[in-house]
Symmetry: none
Amino acid sequence: MSDKRFLLINTAKKLFSENGFYATPTARIAKEAGVSNGILFHYFPTKAELIHAMYYEIKDRIFHYTVSQIYQEATLKESVYTLWLAAVEWNLENPEDFDFMLQFENSPYFSSEIEAKHKYVQMSLELAEQGRQKNVFKDVNSLLLFQIMSSLVETTVKFLKNNPSFQNDVEFKNRLFEIAWDAIKK
Amino acid sequence: MSDKRFLLINTAKKLFSENGFYATPTARIAKEAGVSNGILFHYFPTKAELIHAMYYEIKDRIFHYTVSQIYQEATLKESVYTLWLAAVEWNLENPEDFDFMLQFENSPYFSSEIEAKHKYVQMSLELAEQGRQKNVFKDVNSLLLFQIMSSLVETTVKFLKNNPSFQNDVEFKNRLFEIAWDAIKK
Amino acid sequence: MSDKRFLLINTAKKLFSENGFYATPTARIAKEAGVSNGILFHYFPTKAELIHAMYYEIKDRIFHYTVSQIYQEATLKESVYTLWLAAVEWNLENPEDFDFMLQFENSPYFSSEIEAKHKYVQMSLELAEQGRQKNVFKDVNSLLLFQIMSSLVETTVKFLKNNPSFQNDVEFKNRLFEIAWDAIKK
Amino acid sequence: MSDKRFLLINTAKKLFSENGFYATPTARIAKEAGVSNGILFHYFPTKAELIHAMYYEIKDRIFHYTVSQIYQEATLKESVYTLWLAAVEWNLENPEDFDFMLQFENSPYFSSEIEAKHKYVQMSLELAEQGRQKNVFKDVNSLLLFQIMSSLVETTVKFLKNNPSFQNDVEFKNRLFEIAWDAIKK
DNA sequence: TATGAATGAGTATTCATTCAT
DNA sequence: TATGAATGAATACTCATTCAT
């Protein structure tokens, strides 16, 4: 990935997270990235494509991070816990990414078809499927189980951002996980 | 509430729900509402105020609807169920309001302080508090309990919108409620 | 026709004639007309519509001018002469309009279908038809006869603009008319 | 003439003829020609120079074609006819060149001084001069006679393009020539 | 209250041209 | 010669908001 493309994506993420993408002119992104106005459109033909590119880039990173945490011999609950915790922590450590995703997923730029194709979702669905087959999870659609977990992760992250004192409280986080686990387990 | 103000709010809601508020010029709202360009700013000095007004109006309606469903002699679980179901159904029946709220709550127009003041939230927090005092709910912050319920309602509504065949399946909706209930109950 | 619309059309004509329409930004038209940038798009939703509006306005004026010169008892040759002379003189007296038309008719904005509908063309075609029926004109398509006359008027005007000393030389202009007349007459 | 220069000129002509030169970016010419963006400016330092180069190249070709048709023992009328026919046919067979010339000659890129220098014009002027001296042509400026012929050729080509059924009708084309001849002859 | 013309700052995108390699 | 990334000025059009009536 070229130097300037990288700079642009990073600057855009910062500005989008601070001001939202509607309030962030492409010219400002270029300026703050220290590159020329025009080059942005060399890498991303439209602002929308920049936004989509960022989405994929973030999704990829969160996928690699969370997957890397899983270990083979884990029980189902342990795997779910690992993913849940990894997701929560990744988002806390990457607040710009988190803010961007929140905006993106509730904007006209987003469609759930786009999301569905990502390996992050694929992987999560597989886990949900396993849980259902082992009769551990509630008897509802795997996609729904995934969406429930996702929204609980989101709620958790929002809460921890507003209440930073809990961020390192392992016991508290375990309690939060139990909420999510109880929701999906039979 | 004057005739034109009402027309404007309704037209705006429709257009915002269809295209998002960034893609909906005030001029288009006025035109589609059949009123003049300028009068919009008589009722709502800025576009942001129109958006906020819509938010309050919707929150008020959902509050009155859900509250009206509660009955005195209900158990705690029954009350939670009643509120959950009322919220889910109201959102399904008012999809434009739902879409608007989704956008609004993830936009720079929104702040959680604004939300916190609404009687809808107040009422919900009281219920959460009751549940904690009766030792029925998990031992976490009431606000968090409320946010968890809200996000599960949201997830549920999104799922039912995408899978309309379940919308009238009472047994399925009960199962969905159990997910939410299991999440918060001890 | 509103004041500003009129100002804009006139300023545009001047600037288009001086610099061509590709080299004339809409912002400059507005500035030079002493109106705001945005109002141009109130009257003419796109630059192309401004250009088309100018075309019709000019065609209308030339039509009214030339038609007003014709008199009933005239012979065919006299009528043709009257129109030819009126067209030549009008174009010499309205050089901005002439320049604009030249550009316009050789630009992608122009289509001959658009032209064909104008009463100026209609009128000219009728005259051509008369001449053919009276067996005075050559035996070719009326439209072609019209186009021949038009292009000879154009050539004449260009020549007189480059050689102003001939502009008031009646005898010379008569000779120029004989060229056109000989071309079409049998 | 180098390979790439040739490719560029040809691609440019095609694109200019299709879309006009204002709507044809140099980048697109290079891309469609299969060469790099930058190399265009090696052969043609500016877009204007590319356009002028095309003009000369076309004028040269039309000159060689028409001149090659003339034969020594021809009468004046025969020579004029030969040139007229050659010009009409060349333009019909090279519609991209014709379209380009039309645009070019009515654009700010063009000036009549540029045209005047070309041997095509020189040759035509000589012929006009001959005709005047032999007292065959009307008694007006040779340049004007040339411009009249040119504009009648142009009108003829446009007409034949719109009415292809006449394109191979020799008798019809003769009639069209008589129009031109009558215009200039005494 | 109501109209709709008017304002003018703002914005994504384009494109001829340059330049390091 | 050749590449294609890089530049940055330019431009049509938008839109929240104001204002004269």
